[in-house]
Amino acid sequence: MFYREAGDFNTSYAEDQQTFPIKFDRYRYYVVLFIAIVVVPFTVNDYWVNSIFMPFLIYTIAAIGLNILVGYCGQVSLGTGGFMAVGAYACYKLMTAMPEVSMFIHVLLAGVITAAVGVLFGLPSLRIKGFYLAVATLAAQFFLVWLFNRFPWFYNYSASGQINAPERDTFGIIITGPSTEAWAAYAFCLVFTIFSAYVARNLTRGSVGRKWMAIRDMDIAAEIIGVNPLRAKLTAFAVSSFFIGISGALFFAIYLGAVEVGEAFGIQKSFLVLFMIIIGGLGSIFGSFAGAAFLVLLPVALKVVGVDLLGWPTDIVAHLQLVIVGLLIIVFLIAEPHGIAQLWRVAKDKLRLWPFPH
């Protein structure tokens, strides 16, 4: 009914391995892409871009990055905020040092720099696991925030200690600064989100991804089949930090425009992204989208329903949000550790057979 699979056969391994093996799924995915690329940029206004689309797209990139490390490679990290800060400050330094270079290059380079920093902080993962590794990455979080506050070189000796995104363009379209148009900022973030999802999907379905998952599921067995644990873990840290760096750069340059490091990239950010992948689904690219969408939309939805419709005081709604998120995390961790992505998968399996399950 919802799925028509009749006559939809895979006749080669290439077809069997594709991301959406069911034709129906594939078309739906094309429709979503079409809407995101062609329809949305011409219809959005400032409010939608600033309160929904941009945070969604940027957090999705961060969630994909963290998911590679935590969900695919099994290395718990609480340093996401710190790594986003590295991306933001790298982007800022690049923007101010080389104003004529395209923003695309800056954001990608910021990702590369963050990847290098990520590898550095990933080194302890070779010796320590689980809870202890989480604490080690927590140290990275606090160290990086301290670093960017402590050395004025990072914020170009500005009096406020903040970094402000100067006006920069790409292909002649202004991307950063106050005179940016909503659709341009949206499109710029969208390009990176699609790029990240595409790369992450390709990496996780091939031999690199299998190495990560092997390390996650059983590191001794991974070694015995020829996986070098050092390289597998460090590539996971590098790729993960690359995406997180990109999201940090976008978060600073496109979304906020001005950043005070402790406020924007503090420990709360690390937890927020971690909650996204726990709720969305560990070890799933779709889960990264779902988790980011959920945590971005939840406060907006609560505000619309609670404040605008029911007329509750704002502070109650804000606290209600914390309660709901906390509750959901507990529920998901106990009942469905693979998050929304797994719920979606189960629903899909049911729908494929509906209305004749036998």
Binding site: S12, Y13, A14, Q17, V199, N202, L203, R205, G206, S207, V208, R210, K211, M213, A214, R216, D217, M218, I220, A221, A222, E223, I224, I225, G226, V227, N228, P229, T235, V239, G283
Partner: protein, 290 residues
Amino acid sequence: MHDTGGIENNRRYEGNVCVKDQVDSYVTEDGRTIGPVVMEMKNITLRFGGVEAIKDISFDIREGEIRAIIGPNGAGKSSMLNVISGFYVPQEGEVWYKGARRPPMKPFQVAQQGIARTFQNIALFEGMSVLDNVMTGRLTHMKTGIFSQTLWKGRAEREEIENREVAEKIIDFLEIQAIRKTPVSRLPYGLKKRVELARALAAEPLLLLLDEPMAGMNVEEKEDMSRFILDVNDEFGTTIALIEHDMGVVMDLSDRVVVMDYGKKIGDGTPHEVRNNQEVIDAYLGVSHD
């Protein structure tokens, strides 16, 4: 002179110990050719603190043979396998592989040299499907770098499909086609054992180490597994070293048997020789200390 092929004529002596020459080969009674020595353990001693798990053990594994390591519980069989696969580094002794001394190396380097193994208590990747598990066995053969993989189309996809074909052959061979997309965590024990064998075989190893492949199985499953082991040896020519408790199985399957007891080697030879060895009988049946 009897019919053991060239061995009789090519005997080499070291001191007063007879050593089969590294290069000779012979044909077994059932017509399989057993090649030269691929792996030789020379005077291996392994200690954990004050405990000597393995005491001065030497034996060799020849190309194409099924070599069994047996012994009572705690005899040091698994430790021996762990020495071969690189988990333990022996304090004394040398491991010779393909005619050269193997320096101490990490397990993943051992795997890259063509040695695959299974574990006594299954070590599959529970979060992955059967197919993905078998594909992980191909990792030593997949060389595409991370950058070609980000693009997928082209090199990475081609390599994936080539290796998928090999993996599918193994899946067919072990008759697990029906469960290839099932998550491993949902499989019963016997099938998990088979998937683990599939993963080890997917690496197309030169030497396959099986740590109690039939532990915890019923008679039917044991028969299936025995058939697979013989077929693997026969069709792929894989050299197999296995640890097993079921004496009937060991005697039927293996070409030569090493018997260990309390970390020492107490017997080595064909199943027939071992069965009639007084020390082995004592170790298994017990002997009165008076």
